[in-house]
């Protein structure tokens, strides 16, 4: 982690300044971890604006909980946990509303091909964000965050079978979207 502000030499100094309520320190902390933490809400929400709003909520929670941080484990990990929890709370809230209206599954997701054979992270995020919300959540929880179906079912209030079914569907759609030079090259390599 690079400190954006020379005033705060170490991470601890930055934290202490944040505890004192120094706005400059808060901005420095935000700037430091923005890029790293934005990935969490980005893979669970459909667009960048919603992800930004969620990240801000998470940072607010981080600033609130900063006095409780006991310097056990990495600070970045602690922040990631808070961001993930805030995102999950949002998803749980959204799911009730979403499932009441539609669970439409698109025929396919827009395919992405790359000339150089290496997909950019932005493209992968784009593909993931194109998935329907209920499929994207299960896919991200299972594939990226490494949760089991039983845990996913408990987390978002669905059955284990539903979780499996959603993962299967998400894989099909995403694989089709990423069926480009990247996957072909990866398989042949």
């Amino acid at each position: 982690m690079t400190m954006p502000n020379d005033h705060y030499k170490t991470e601890k100094a930055l934290r202490e300044a944040c505890l004192r309520g120094e706005r400059r320190a808060q901005q420095a902390l935000y700037q430091c971890f923005y890029g790293k933490l934005l990935g969490i809400p980005m893979r669970y929400t459909g667009d960048k604006e919603a992800a930004n709003a969620l990240l801000n909520q998470a940072f607010l929670q981080i600033f609130k909980s900063l006095p409780d941080y006991r310097e056990q484990g990495s600070f970045a990990g602690w922040m990631s946990t808070i961001t993930f929890r805030v995102t999950m709370d949002y998803l749980r809230m959204e799911q009730r509303h979403r499932e009441r209206y539609s669970l439409d599954i698109p025929e396919n997701v827009q395919a992405i091909s790359n000339i150089e054979g290496q997909l950019e992270a932005e493209d992968i995020f784009h593909c993931i964000q194109q998935l329907p919300d209920h499929l994207r959540t299960v896919f991200s929880l299972y594939v990226i965050d490494g949760y089991k179906h039983q845990e996913i079912a408990a987390m978002i209030g669905i059955t284990e079978d539903t979780s499996k079914w959603r993962l299967r569907k998400a894989r099909q759609l995403l694989q089709a979207a990423l069926k480009s030079d990247y996957l072909d090259n990866d398989q042949t390599a």
Binding site: L19, G21, Q27, G35, L60, I144
Partner: protein
Amino acid sequence: MKEEAQQPWEAAVRRVVETHEFEYDPAAWAGMEQLLEEAALPYAKPTSSWWAQAWKWLIPTIVVLVVGTLWLTNQQPAPSLQGSLPIFAEPDGVEREKQEAEQESPILQARPRSRKVTSVPPLPTKPIRLLPEGQTKIPELLPYRQTPATLIPLDARPVGPIRYDEKLELNIPAIDIKRKRNRKTLFPDVIKNY
């Protein structure tokens, strides 16, 4: 389950997603700053060293002690009651003998002793004014009000026994007529005038 196992492309996706860092968006901080303004978080005050904490309590304590000591030392002495209380006179020769005799005899000891009061402070000689200022003559007293004569109630007249006429009979006509409830019978005058 075979299907649930991570496929190679999934591992690649996971690696890319986990390691990717987004570029900082300065516009995002504006929203964050607004959130912070609205939340108004209670921030911890900067912690000071132990001696600063000690001084925080020590200075008020010293001030209270100094002020208390000064107040106690500069306090005015209470006004003496000497002269306003009765003073016991020194017994003369005869009195001394009496007292000694009293001390010897237990009967006399039980008797309440008399005290000789030598000086009693005079009462304030302020004239008590009974009449309003400027009036010297005592007004004549009003005559006593005479009480009205009381009325003695007379005895109640005795009431004799009530006698009824034994021959009195009620002349109730026998109701064997069929009651007519038409307008002619009910309002004959009205019908006649009409």
